[in-house]
Symmetry: C2
Subunit: 200 residues, 2 copies
């Protein structure tokens, strides 16, 4: 399913076409594709090139591991995410390796890596639905995530299902158009809430 943003200004194809489906098709994601997705995350920018991101990933073919990952989602997310062929979690290292001091932008930099991942995926017609609704302490315990790391988000990865494969309420959500506030509401100039004069 294609769900392209109606943009006010031209952007790259994969930025306009990226979206977060609730329904995934049964088609698996190949190892080659997965390597390219995480390779894209790898090359994100980060403060002091710290690369504070790690990912825990399970594919459906490995039934036990997949069930383990699924059990770490909130109950509401487990419902729909169980159609995704790949599940994962993004984890942030909250301190700098080089000196042990807190990394104020660790979550921000993990977000940058995950955005790279999502755009590489979209370019390959693979889509990712990220979830804040996870059980972070369960992930920490089951996967033995070390201290000073925060489990940030869950990721459901796969090809989008066609609308005919979807049931409500997910069908309604996947068919609804994508929407965002306009640039004038978040790109400011001289002071907060005053749009830049070049913003149209």
């Amino acid at each position: 399913m294609i769900k392209k943003a109606r943009t006010d200004h031209p952007v790259q194809e994969e930025i306009a076409s990226r979206w977060s489906p609730y329904g995934f098709s049964a088609q698996p994601v190949s190892s080659e594709e997965l390597c390219s997705l995480f390779e894209a995350a790898r090359w994100a920018a980060s403060s002091y090139n710290e690369q504070p991101w790690s990912y825990l990933v399970a594919v459906r073919d490995d039934k036990d591991e997949y069930e383990k990952a699924l059990s770490c989602l909130s109950e509401a997310n487990r419902q729909w995410a169980s159609t995704a062929p790949v599940l994962g979690f993004a984890v942030a290292h909250l301190r700098f390796n080089r000196n042990g001091r807190p990394n104020r932008v660790a979550l921000h930099d993990v977000g940058m890596a995950s955005a790279n991942l999502c755009l590489e995926a979209a370019a390959r017609r693979i889509f990712i639905h990220q979830m804040a609704g996870i059980l972070p302490e369960r992930v920490r315990e089951i996967y033995r995530v070390p201290p000073d790391h925060e489990v940030v988000s869950g990721l459901a990865i796969g090809y989008a299902a066609g609308p005919e494969q979807l049931a409500d309420p997910y069908k309604q959500r996947d068919l609804a158009p994508r929407s965002r506030k306009p640039l004038s509401q978040f790109v400011f100039g001289a002071t907060w809430a005053s749009p830049c004069d070049w913003v149209r």
Copy 2:
């Protein structure tokens, strides 16, 4: 200047070519290009579609505004960032608009918007050097950033200078190859630090 990543797996051109220059050319960034950059940020994913990102942006043509933005960078960053034709700050709204509750992934989602911005830029041969080294409380005061918002990062935006325009130590940094840890060090399977078997 081109500084393409040597990737282990194929990724999109703009993901491989994005980098963070210390030296910018004098070439300005047009309003059209700026609109497309922030349009890309606009369409990032966010928890509950909250879109917790805002940007404060100054272009060099507006001398007073540019100097104001420059004064909000750390002294070390002011040195090199003053060559960039555009400066900005990314700001995170730490609470959900819909219910006022804390947004655990606000910084993460701002990072996703900024990554979109950087990739849209790279596709246009525009590069962004993001900075954690800023004076957040000065930004808050000068721009009147409201409570419950965190000033996350600075952004220097422009076209990269050629090496002949650069002086040390920035020349060395801009000429050094880009490096990242391999996938096996951050993509894990059954448990923390055990790479997935499909990671090569």
